[in-house]
Symmetry: C2
């Protein structure tokens, strides 16, 4: 379980160049990237989003600048792009107007002295910064940075897939560890803490979420974890994940705890919906080949569950892209005609939810390759019937 090799610095140079190419191509004055996944993608720089402005300026021509609060100069300089000299680090002081500084770099892109017409800002930039930049650039029309970065980020290279695979396999191990341990008599919250500890122990940078939904809570799609005590004769949804080397895991498996008494096993309807969800997951995964529309993959999963009579109970999309963000493009949802391409990575996670009784969801991370779909998770999709 050695960590995959770091993304080479040269890759960040290529990414910055590709982003600048798209800025020019789209007729934008500049791309303005705040702290978040686009910044990590383009520079490797990880920072917490804060009220102090940190912003990469990718103008349509000329040097890339990383504007940072003075006290972030050292870590910014040590980021992959900083260390490789790909970006010029511009530090501002506590009493400077950082937004005006960024605006000055944008205005400098207008060779004729006219105000720039269009600027893109990263999708997760806080309103705090968006509105201040709008005030400093009153004539600029803003659009989302994903118009520039999404097409770049949506196709993962080998180094990125290595991280996604390492994250998936680490999450697989945690599922195995949790299913093998004691569950009955513990609160969901207590199990969730164990999940988080184990994700970190298995190399995750962070444990973003640990959904432990037992008994009737399993019918709630985004239940997190409560003080409910797990009892024999119940299903548990385990939906867990977080970043490893920046790239996210996200796996869902179903456990059923019997307390060692086979009479406490799943009933016939639970078995029926479980099998439907598993079939939907398997078939949707098989359908995820280059050229197939994302919405088609959703339709495959949905069709199976509808044919089984539970269409109304599959109340969410089939999946979401995954990479530096837990949820990113491509979304596997009705209405998204994006054709899948080799290198795209996404979840396949159908579910059926019977309010007040129980629910089933299964989730793998799948990569579309030229040779067909590859599930990064290796844990079997079976119902994990355990003593608990």
């Amino acid at each position: 379980m050695a960590a995959p090799p770091a993304i080479p610095a040269a890759r960040f140079g290529e990414r910055l160049e590709a982003a600048q190419g798209r800025v020019a191509e789209r007729g934008l004055a500049a791309l303005l990237v705040g702290v978040g996944p686009d910044l990590r993608y383009l520079t490797g720089y990880r920072a917490m989003p804060l009220e102090r402005l940190t912003m990469l300026v990718v103008p349509r021509t000329g040097p890339y600048r990383l504007v940072v609060p003075r006290l972030e100069r050292t870590p910014a300089g040590r980021s992959p792009a900083g260390e490789a000299g790909l970006v010029e680090i511009v530090a501002w002081d506590e009493t400077d107007d950082a937004h005006a500084l960024v605006a000055s770099f944008v205005n400098a892109t207008a060779a004729d002295g006219a105000s720039p017409a269009r600027v893109a800002v990263s999708d997760t930039l806080w309103a705090l910064h968006v509105l201040r930049l709008q005030a400093e650039l009153p004539n600029a029309v803003m659009e989302l940075g994903s118009t520039v970065t999404s097409d770049l980020r949506i196709v993962k290279d080998e180094a990125e897939i290595a991280f996604l695979r390492a994250a998936a396999e680490a999450a697989d191990r945690v599922i195995g560890q949790i299913a093998a341990g004691r569950l009955i008599g513990r609160t969901e919250h207590d199990v969730a803490i164990e999940v988080r500890d184990r994700l970190i122990a298995e190399g995750h940078d962070d444990a973003d979420f640990a959904i432990v939904a037992s008994g009737p809570n399993s019918a709630s799609t985004h239940h997190e974890a409560s003080d409910r005590v797990i009892a024999a004769g119940e299903p548990i949804v385990l939906d867990i994940g977080g970043p490893l080397g920046g790239y996210c895991s996200d796996i869902t498996r179903m456990v059923w705890v019997t307390g060692g008494n086979p009479a406490n096993g799943p009933d016939a309807e639970f078995r029926r919906i479980f099998d439907l969800v598993r079939d939907a997951a398997s078939e949707a995964t098989s359908a995820a080949r280059p050229g197939v529309a994302a919405e088609r993959v959703d339709a495959v999963a949905r069709g199976i569950i509808e044919a089984g009579g539970y269409g109304e109970r599959f109340i969410h999309r089939t999946g979401h892209g995954i990479g530096l963000e837990g949820h990113e493009e491509p979304y596997v949802v009705a209405g998204n005609p994006t054709p899948l391409r080799a290198g795209m990575a996404f979840s396949i996670e159908p579910g059926i939810y019977l309010d007040g009784r129980y629910g089933v969801r299964l989730e793998d991370i799948v990569v579309c390759t030229a040779d067909g779909p590859v599930a990064l998770n290796r844990a079997p999709l079976d119902l994990l019937v355990v003593d608990g």
Copy 2:
């Protein structure tokens, strides 16, 4: 270390009412609050910020609505404000236009059918949602939600201070545990993992940051943790924290590891800058009384360090407010004339950084009360000289 009692549901009703009062008073059509600290403050609802829109609409008159993706309906309904029936939960489906839905509620506030002129959006709302809402409300001028919420959130009530105190005391214990353990021969990263585990074990919801900066790294203000191995005869900055019951801890203490050999103790200049920083912290804390301007508290800390000859090496503000966010108002910084009021909580964290050699920072969370300043951290500000 029992957790403090939960914020009573009635408090959320009062907060919503106060927010609506300010919306009307400021002549706004509505306050639009995305996932984040303002939403937690007004409703108690905690969710992860996602591409799917979750938004509280506080119109100038009429009912409060919490617009959520359908699959979040159950957890939203279980939030304190949801459970108490204070907000109407409006669920949208995967193929609905959630931003248009929110815009329709805003437009409904314009009694005369005219477009509403001004709308406030929460400061941490993503650009993704800001720009879409601007597109749906083309005639609305947007301003920051903090113009409505900051004045409410800036003064903490007793229940909130109880959480801040519990978080501070938990972080105190972790500092003590780390200083008492083995440090020499371990990487900063390894110690940071232990810090995170211990913060969680001491009741934190999450361990947002664990700065472990040893030797020359201590001179970098926002160094996180690296593969550098800690050696005898070095200082370590421990700057750690995260939320407990939603309210944040943030403490900085200095450790010096000797390896058991007194000859490896701190040198004279380190002692000198340590004493200056400690004096600056103590005096700034003493100055933090009702009616004193926030910038005055900064000036007190800065004055002491300047008088000691290290003014140029104190390269950041003295502190930041703290509550549901790790950094929030009031900022203890030059240029902020806000007079302190009883109930305000903030960090006092002066520092001196000698590039390439070492640095010192000390940080307490302080509450301004009618009877004077109260440090919530109880760990002494002393230099922790340990064998390591």
